[in-house]
């Protein structure tokens, strides 16, 4: 199924990806990385991800390192 | 302008500027970038025709800033590249020379000095001794500086400039003056006498089958910069040990030693000979490399000589290096012309007679 991979150490918490997701599957999470940033979380309980890579295309830090469609 | 010049292996009559340009071509200069300024414009004029004829790179740059940075770009690929300029325009290049020294690139700059400061005039001058040997760029760096005194030496030291620049990965200046640039003398263009230096370990060629290479001077960490500068200066020490070059005559028993570089060295040498005829114990030393400066030899000679006299076309610049070498042991005097033709033989002899009477 379509999904994304987030590298928690690359995320700087700009949250630009959140509004890009057409299915609103990204949100600010509780976990904090070594930059002190509340990480973006990918939450897709109903397998809605399209694998469109809009989030990764938007991310200025390549924190969304991989996107798969299928 | 390009007609007479190829490898001759016999004497031809030519001007200093053409001699330098043709020697650069024979040395294998692949790229010339330049902007006109008197008294060295013949170099660019010659190169514009010759480089196109040979299908090598030539650019009439929009400024000296651009020209020297084009040289840096070309040198970053390991190419033999040069620019030529004069005084107030060499001032414009100081930033890039600092970068090139930091980047450790084999930049060759021909600097044909004219009067200064500011726009000055187009008469011969040695007013840029300090600019070349101390430098006007920022940071602790050194340029190798070669100073020809004859048109033949304009050829030989141009060859050497390319060799040393590549051997030590260090910007190298051929420091001539307007007199040499415009003077005609018989010269011989031999084959380039030096081995080709292998640049393959550092040149930018595209990161094929190896990690990418970066030529940079930005050093965000102070520790890295300390280490870098120590290594850079270890290289300078090596250059000082291996490449210091000068010639000297009648110095062993001399009471007075005349020191002069470039075009005034010619009259100075004649003056020394004349003084010897008069029975005066006068010697002559001519630094051929201004950096590295023959300080060690001058210090040795200060053990026996009673006085040094620096002969220069400026207000006295090299004299400071002589004083540093002599380190207060004996007096160092100056015979100078602020700008224009060098002090005449008569002037120098007259002054020596006066000095020896004291």
């Amino acid at each position: 199924m379509s999904h994304i991979v987030i590298d928690k150490n690359r995320c700087k918490g700009c949250y630009l990806c959140i509004e890009e997701c057409p299915k609103k599957l990204l949100k600010i999470g509780d976990k904090v990385n070594n930059l002190g940033v509340h990480l973006v979380e990918f939450d897709d309980p109903n397998n809605e991800c399209l694998g469109c890579a809009m989030c990764a295309t938007r991310c200025p830090d390549m924190a969304i390192t991989e996107v798969y469609k299928g | 302008m390009t007609e007479c010049l190829t490898k001759t292996n016999k004497k031809v009559l030519t001007k200093g500027n053409y001699a330098i340009a043709n020697a650069a071509v024979i040395a294998g200069c692949e790229c010339y970038f330049g902007y006109p300024i008197t008294p060295q414009s013949e170099i660019g004029e010659f190169m514009s025709g010759k480089m196109q004829e040979l299908k090598r790179a030539y650019v009439s740059a929009e400024s000296e800033l651009a020209a020297i940075n084009m040289v840096i770009g070309a040198c970053s690929t390991g190419a033999k590249a040069m620019t030529s300029s004069s005084s107030c325009a060499v001032s414009l290049m100081q930033e890039a020379l600092s970068y090139a020294a930091s980047d450790q690139l084999p930049v060759v700059l021909v600097s044909v000095m004219r009067g200064g400061p500011g726009l000055g005039n187009i008469y011969p001058s040695q007013g840029d001794y300090n600019q070349a040997t101390i430098g006007g760029g920022n940071g602790d760096y050194k340029l190798i500086v070669l100073a020809p005194a004859t048109v033949q030496e304009c050829v030989d030291l141009t060859y050497k400039a390319f060799y040393l620049a590549h051997k030590y990965k260090n910007p190298t200046v051929l420091l001539a003056d307007g007199l040499l640039g415009q003077m005609m003398e018989p010269v011989e263009f031999t084959d380039y006498p030096y081995p080709e230096v292998d640049n393959s370990s550092w040149a930018l060629t595209g990161a094929k089958g190896r990690p990418a290479r970066v030529i940079r001077s930005y050093a965000p960490s102070a520790d890295d910069q300390c280490e870098f500068l120590e290594n850079l200066h270890a290289k300078y020490k090596l250059i000082e040990e291996n490449e210091t070059d000068w010639e000297e005559f009648n110095t062993e028993d001399a009471d007075i030693i005349l020191v002069s570089f470039g075009s005034p060295a010619r009259n100075t040498k004649s003056a020394m000979k004349h003084c010897r005829k008069l029975g005066l114990k006068v010697g002559f030393l001519r630094p051929i490399t201004l950096y590295p400066f023959p300080s060690k030899r001058i210090a040795e000679l200060a053990q026996t000589a009673k006085k040094f006299i620096s002969v220069e076309i400026n207000m006295g610049q090299m004299i400071r290096d002589i004083k540093l070498a002599v380190n207060g042991k004996v007096p160092v005097e100056l015979i100078n012309k602020p700008v224009g033709n060098p002090p005449s033989v008569e002037e120098i002899v007259e002054r020596i007679i006066k000095e020896s009477e004291e």
Binding site: L16, P60, G70 | M70, G73, A74, S76, A207, A212, V214
Partner: protein, 253 residues
Amino acid sequence: MTTLTQTFKIPESIKKGSKFSFCPGCDHGVAVRLVAEVLDELGLRENTIAVASIGCSVTLYDFLEVDTIEAPHGRALAEATGVKRARPNKTVFTYQGDGDFASIGMAESLHCALRGENVTAICINNTTYGMTGGQLGPTTLLGQVTTTSPTGRNVEYYGYPIKIAEHVALCDGTAYSARVSLDTVPNIRKAKAAIKKAFEIQNKGLGFSFVEILSTCPTNWKKTPQQAHQRVREEMMPVFVPGVYKDITEKNN
């Protein structure tokens, strides 16, 4: 079971394990990634020599697995000229900010275009000097407050901002000049297409190719990354209108 297709990966031309050192939300990261993607797609990485400049763009070589030389401020296109003339079979590009390209480096930039040097220049326009803390630059908009235009850019003291892509397009040696924006994903895709076109034009030996990229500086603009993109749309794009200002391949077609 469905087969998975990878629709995004970190480009090969990005240095392994490297992380961008730009501020959060800064579009520089997107621009560098797009260049890397284009180098990958055109198979150019191993034959490319990049010229980095001064400003936030200087760290390019920390992120790209490409041979790079760092030029003094404003001199990137002079150095690129030297590289290309010495090694005409290499792909050569600069990555510069607007201050580097169009203020201190204006002479080098426009003369490189006028000579029709067969190199590509990528210029980030964020209307400020980012690395030094947000001073007024050549592209600072009228009315824009910066640390050196505390009451906003006025014509009396500062004159007008420059429209870079239009100026570059006026040079006869320019083969391609475009302005793109990174404010939305569709625009990011257009930006990539423009960068790709620029490199293709260089590979065909057609002359100078140029892409101006409207970009954000959330830190110095004192905006969130989201507000910054809104500013690009509402304030920058009406003045710096995106589009292709010159493309000699189109004319030939």
